[in-house]
């Protein structure tokens, strides 16, 4: 029982990581039909920014310092993502395939640069002491504390994202843009501003994903983001491309499947099973769980 609950919570935590990356991708894709292959590199970059900030603080990190590091990571992600849209993708407007390819190039270059700057090996992350401990819940069930934080974190982000999309003017414009971009433009609304905003938000989410990755794995390496990115892609397809809620459901489902199979069947089995789930989804529901063309939230 102990192992089962631990693995379940691990699966949910991994799912949260996938969700943070996939939700940003879903927003971008929903609004602009652009798929960003640079999103994994963005996660890694933000992780390294947080890691560097923590590194400056010395051997022990308290909560304020830790949150400052996470905030710096998210801010770096938002800025980097915004710059990418401004400098490269905007020039390729209306050519989704070229935009996709450009993000591939940016991703390759960024990962190589980070490998040069921080080295190819794994760097260990210093966390607040409480995060490395475990809590005993009920009869002999021991849960590492970081799982709680990650899940809480993801719930907050999901709530914030849904509130933003349904309750704010900019959020409503973004959802309207997903439904029918031309109509929104015809109403005299500057969609370009929404594009930039969506990229900044998605970058911030990737930055938070970098923070969650650090909390979960307690380490970072240049390939971290890209390995998460593949699963985020699968989450996108299974959830229905462009749907944030679909991404949340699929991320949770796939995270749990992956963790369970990796533990009960054998290491690596979960990764395979995730792709099998992808194949089954494509056969049974080609549009994904919540896939209705062009819907978010």
């Amino acid at each position: 029982m102990n192992a089962f609950i631990l693995i379940l919570l691990t699966g949910i935590s991994v799912g949260c990581l996938y969700f943070l990356l996939a939700s940003g991708l879903a927003l971008i894709f929903g609004l602009m039909n652009v798929l960003s292959f640079a999103h994994g590199a963005l996660l890694t970059f933000c992780g390294y920014v947080s890691w560097t900030v923590v590194q400056q603080m010395g051997a022990v990190v308290g909560w304020p310092g830790f949150f400052l590091a996470l905030f710096c990571g998210a801010a770096a992600g938002a800025i980097a993502s915004y710059m990418m849209e401004l400098l490269v993708l905007r020039r390729l407007f209306g050519r989704p395939l070229e935009q996709l390819l450009a993000t591939v190039g940016i991703g390759i270059a960024a990962v190589a640069l980070m490998e040069g700057l921080w080295g190819p090996d794994e760097l260990l992350m210093t966390l607040p002491p409480w995060l490395s401990k475990a809590t005993i819940v009920g009869a002999g069930i021991v849960i590492p504390n970081n799982r709680f934080v990650i899940i809480l974190f993801a719930l907050l982000v999901l709530a914030f994202l849904l509130l933003f999309l349904t309750r704010t003017r900019q959020g409503i414009i973004i959802r309207a843009g997903v439904e029918n971009r031309e109509m929104v433009q015809a109403l005299g609304i500057d969609v370009q501003k929404s594009f930039s905003l969506v990229f900044a938000i998605a970058g911030g989410l990737a930055g938070l994903a970098g923070g969650v990755g650090l909390i979960l794995y307690r380490a970072i390496n240049p390939g971290l983001g890209d390995s998460v990115l593949i699963f985020a892609f699968i989450v996108l397809i299974v959830g229905g491309i462009g749907s944030v809620t679909g991404a949340a459901v699929a991320a949770l489902m796939l995270g749990i499947i992956q963790a369970m199979a990796n533990f009960y069947i054998g290491p690596g089995a979960g990764d395979m099973l995730v792709v099998v789930t992808l194949a089954v989804t494509l056969l049974v529901r080609p549009a994904g769980l919540m896939g209705r063309k062009g819907r978010i939230a």
Binding site: F29, N33, L35, F37, V88, R91, L92, G94, R95, P96, L97, E98, L100, L101, A102, V104, G105, I106, G107, I108, A109, A110, V111, A112, L113, E115, G116, L117, D226, S227, I230, F233, I234, L236, I237, I241, P267, G268, D271, M272, V275, L278, A279, L282, L283, P286
Partner: protein
């Protein structure tokens, strides 16, 4: 679809013919090109480098059949190359049979896997297709990384020396590997050219690239034609893999990595996706930069470079990635467009 006149085309064929003939004579050249090659032209190091470049170029040309001819953007093409390398090496080592016999097994297996993967992935849209193919390639990377089926994990598998066919065993036979790679490149180039220009399939593929909806309306089974293109291209890719396993005498996990798959797309786009020789240029150049750039930089005095320049230059992928983005922004038809008058912009799926 070329706008070149027939005489210009004849000049092009003559250039390619002369190039192939000249390339065949390279192992006889004992001169040196300075730091361009690792040693004199016919040294073991240079021969291996050139062989690897040619195999990768052949692989890029098989991808051209999808990206360039049919307008199908796959990010998982490296999967079939990796399958070709790994299956032929592992089967040879395990059952101690002739390398080319296990190569044949690898090609058949790749064709079957490709039919399954592409049959599924083509059900999704164009963006979904690119993600799903990448996901399947990642499975290969994960399986290899964990060392499933004796794939050796991070160290890879070395082909048993006794099991390498006699004609290609030992350092003295490196020129033969060079000729084998050259032959592969010529055969793949000719086959893809023939498929594109001289078969009904080629015409339908081009029409799918130009306007998928219209092709569908004309009554062609677009899904079926795309599937045929994918399976042919993947099968050819696995043949390249079989030859590559022989050239490097083993299987290394690098060929199964996602970065390798993305690199293949970079080759085709960098060289120019509108013409078959764009993939040839891209494949040769990308592989050369990847394998040789660190050594070229190292040939200069390290200390003379400021640290800020040293990092990007010692990471070939950084240089390649930046070039790739610049090409997409400012030279959408790739390097090949520098040599043609064809300035047609690459088409978006209609």
């Amino acid at each position: 679809m070329t706008h070149a006149s027939s005489s210009a085309r004849r000049v092009g064929y003559s250039i390619l013919f002369v190039l192939a003939m000249a390339a065949a004579l390279v192992p006889m050249v004992s001169g040196s090109l300075g730091p361009v090659l690792p040693g004199s032209v016919n040294s073991i190091g240079s021969m291996t480098l050139l062989s690897m470049m040619m195999v990768h170029a052949a692989l890029a040309i098989t991808l051209y059949l999808l990206v360039g001819v049919s307008g199908v953007l796959t990010f998982g093409h490296g999967l079939y190359f990796a399958l070709g390398v790994y299956i032929s090496v592992i089967v040879t080592n395990t059952f101690e049979i002739n390398y080319f016999a296990s190569g044949a097994i690898a090609v058949v297996a790749s064709a079957i896997i490709s039919t399954f993967v592409n049959g599924l992935a083509l059900k999704a849209g164009i963006v979904g297709y690119s993600m799903i193919t990448l996901a399947f390639a990642e499975i290969m990377a994960l399986a290899v990384g964990r060392g499933f089926l004796n794939s050796g994990g991070d160290t890879g598998v070395t082909l048993d020396d006794d099991l390498i066919p006699n004609a290609f065993r030992g350092l003295a036979n490196t020129p033969r590997l060079f000729w084998l790679s050259l032959a592969l490149l010529v055969v793949i180039y000719a086959s893809v050219w023939f498929l594109e220009r001289r078969t009904k399939f080629g015409h339908v593929w081009i029409s799918i690239r130009e306007n998928e909806l219209r092709t569908e309306m004309l009554g062609y089974n677009v899904y079926g034609y795309k599937l045929v293109a994918s399976v042919i291209a993947s099968t050819m890719a696995s043949i390249c893999g079989v030859i590559y396993g022989l050239v490097v005498a083993g299987a290394q996990p690098e060929v199964a990595k996602v970065l390798f798959c993305l690199g293949l797309v970079v080759m085709v786009i960098l060289g120019g996706r509108n013409v078959i020789w764009g993939a040839l240029i891209g494949g040769l150049l990308h592989t050369y930069l990847n394998l040789r750039l660190p050594a070229l930089i190292g040939a200069h005095e390290q200390s003379s470079l400021p640290r800020i320049l040293e990092i990007p230059l010692s990471e070939p992928d950084f240089f390649i990635g930046i070039c790739f983005v610049l090409v997409i922004l400012f030279l959408p038809n790739g390097i090949a467009s520098l040599f043609t008058r064809n300035r047609r912009l690459p088409l978006e799926p209609g």
